[in-house]
């Protein structure tokens, strides 16, 4: 039960490499924050700094109005679930879970009671005498969770806890983590590179890239109004199509000659922009019904997924194929020529140099306060 405040948190290693260029974030009590980004973006470093496993080079970390920069991990009262679980191999499940309590000199009887209580909560009561190596991957994951829960910490930290599980178990554990976190009401920071995990778990998402926080907001907000090309490409699957275009007045011209109404009027002179359209915001238009503003493409590849079909199509003047997510029953074959109609209200414009979104974001998602 805690609030966290990160102000200009920096991490520079002795060899001069800066893993984190000043992170600012406020985390509300009971909130589940998911930090997501490609590998090497500094998300794990950030988490380890919160845990106290990495020193803080600069900036301030405040948990519940108390500066904790210099505190040891145990003194910060945080619990961490590691990617490889890091269970003590020679201890039984019960001892693994009770180890932190033992170090805090909690009396044996109380320790036992708490461990059993937690084991019941996460369905481990029959496994308390086992050793970690006698458990399956999912069970180990549960023990790692239990070890964190039993301490009743102020903050949970998860470092890609599900990446060693198979796909089915991952979905199941994802739901369980969400359910437990809400039930216990503990503030949590969860690091992952899996954007589906990120979207489904998060109260708010933090997207990181190259040691910087790119955007903070609710998953839907990031999906609907990505602040940069990077966020646009990272959130949503398949990734957003990004097309080269010229913006002149209130119209966009694609290299193939198609003209679209721009969502962001530009009073000045014509300039090059990146136009982002999500695959699900392109719909197939029957031939003959095509109007001005539809993209005429040639289908290169069709990926049927069941409910939907992904159509990879070539648009004249663009290097990468355009991907459209269309209805599963629609018959589209490779080699077909067809028209794709963009959803006019869901176009995104980005600056080709900085990658920033052209239309200003609403104030509440520019910085990172949690909508109350």
């Amino acid at each position: 039960m805690a609030t966290l405040r990160l102000s200009a948190l920096r991490k520079t290693y002795p060899n001069g490499f800066t893993a984190l260029h000043g992170a600012d974030l406020e985390i509300a009590d009971g909130e589940l924050i998911v930090v997501v980004g490609p590998s090497g973006c500094g998300k794990s470093t950030l988490l380890r700094m919160l845990a106290g496993l990495e020193s803080i080079s600069d900036g301030e970390l405040v948990i519940d109005d108390r500066r904790v920069n210099e505190l040891e991990p145990a003194q910060r009262d945080v619990a961490m679930v590691f990617q490889n679980y890091a269970l003590y191999p020679h201890m039984s499940v019960a001892d693994n879970m009770g180890y932190a309590l033992k170090n805090r000199r909690v009396p044996k009887a109380e320790r036992r009671r708490k461990v059993e209580e937690t084991a019941r909560l996460i369905g481990l009561e029959d496994l308390l005498d086992r050793r970690p190596k006698q458990l399956s991957g999912g069970q180990r994951q549960r023990v790692a969770m239990g070890r964190a829960i039993v301490r009743e910490p102020r903050v949970f930290l998860f470092d890609e806890p599900l990446s060693n599980l198979d796909a089915k178990l991952r979905v199941q554990m994802r739901l369980e983590i969400r359910r437990l976190q809400k039930r216990l009401g503990v503030t949590a920071v969860y690091v992952t590179h899996d954007q589906v995990e990120a979207m489904t778990l998060a109260d708010r998402l933090v997207v990181m890239n190259g040691g910087r926080i790119e955007q903070v907001g609710t998953p839907m907000h990031l999906y609907e109004r990505p602040a940069s090309r990077f966020v646009a490409g990272f959130i949503g699957s398949p990734a957003m199509n990004v097309l080269d275009a010229r913006l002149e007045g209130d119209s966009l011209t694609l290299p193939c000659g198609t003209r679209l109404a721009s969502p962001v009027p530009s009073p000045g002179e014509a300039k090059t922009v990146c136009l982002g359209i999500r695959p699900e915001h392109l719909s197939v238009v029957p031939e003959g019904d095509a109007i001005d503003g539809d993209l005429s493409v040639r289908v290169e590849l069709v990926e049927p997924l069941g409910a939907d079909t992904l159509v990879h199509a070539r648009l004249e003047g663009q290097d990468d194929p355009v991907v459209a997510r269309v209805d599963g029953i629609r018959a589209v074959a490779e080699g077909d020529s067809l028209a794709l109609r963009p959803d006019a209200g869901r176009l995104h414009l980005f600056d080709p140099e900085t990658g920033q979104r052209l239309d200003p974001l609403e104030p509440e998602c520019q910085h990172s306060t949690f909508p109350a």
């Binding site: 106290g52 496993l53 991990p73 145990a74 961490m80 890091a86 003590y88 020679h90 932190a100 170090n103």
Partner: protein, 281 residues
């Protein structure tokens, strides 16, 4: 890959049996000789079967002062045991702590420390025996257990072995322990030591044998029979210039000298086999 050919089976068994005889015959001769009296050992043929004395020779060496040694074998066994245990346990304790410092702590000149320890591998007792003797003598350690143990108590080999093992411990284990509130001592005691039992057992066997078999250093530093070790005494039993070597006594003493190392191996074997079976993965 195993070959299944009867000819090969017979040949390899024959070879193994031969090797077994070559290894066991001296032990067998020692056992039989220890049960004879002196007269029957000097008839010119080595006895291949038990003699008339039974266990009397053993009883004698264990309870009465032996020949020119001036003390009984019980005392010698005790001295050897104290020395071997002291060396083995001391080496293990020091190696564990040294390796722990080198692997898990970041301090200035850490690498230098490691290399300095490593370099001492090149300086066995024999090389530095004169200065070591001088130091021991100046400290008044002649004829004492401390004098027997102390100069042999540090081991670069053991430090190196523990270092290699510690390097294989996943760093997350240390991090998990830190988050769980375990300080350095607790991490060592609760996590690292239980994980290294196999290593400790194996090293204990090796180091106990090393200590038990020490010859040169105990020979130098002990002049009184009270602190003499059994290995050194065995040699002294043989060098009776003026009269016949009491072979029955020598054999009984030699057999007794073999027992503690054998016992250690048999006992510890269980531990490290258990350790191997229990090991993660």
């Amino acid at each position: 890959m195993r070959y299944r050919r009867p000819g090969l089976d017979i040949a390899s068994h024959a070879l193994l049996i031969l090797a077994l005889i070559a290894f066991c015959l001296p032990v067998w001769l020692a056992i039989t000789a220890a049960t004879h009296d002196q007269a029957s050992l000097y008839t010119g043929t080595a006895p291949l079967w038990f003699g008339s004395e039974g266990l009397d020779n053993f009883r004698a060496v264990l309870t009465e002062p032996v020949g020119r040694l001036g003390t009984d074998v019980t005392r010698l066994l005790l001295n050897s045991t104290v020395m071997a245990l002291g060396i083995a346990l001391g080496k293990i304790a020091i190696a564990i702590l040294a390796a722990y410092a080198i692997v898990f702590f970041r301090f200035p000149l850490r690498r230098l420390c490691f290399w300095l320890i490593f370099i001492t591998l090149m300086l066995p007792v024999e090389v530095r025996i004169m200065p070591t003797y001088r130091v021991a003598a100046d400290l008044g350690l002649l004829n004492s257990y401390v004098g027997l143990i102390l100069p042999l108590i540090a081991s670069a080999t053991a430090t190196f072995l523990f270092r290699q093992f510690y390097l294989t411990v996943p760093p997350e284990l240390l991090e998990a322990a830190r988050v769980d509130g375990a300080g350095p001592w607790r991490f060592l005691r609760d996590i690292l030591l239980p994980l290294s039992t196999t290593n400790i057992a194996a090293l204990f066997v090796i180091m106990f044998l090393y200590g038990w078999n020490q010859y040169l250093w105990p020979l130098l530093i002990t002049t009184e029979s009270d602190h003499m070790t059994i290995v050194v005494s065995l040699k002294r039993l043989l060098s009776s210039a003026d009269n016949l070597v009491p072979w029955q006594t020598v054999m009984a003493t030699a057999l007794l000298a073999m027992l503690p190392p054998v016992a250690v191996i048999v006992l510890m074997q269980r531990y490290f086999v258990k350790g191997l079976v229990d090991a993660e993965k």
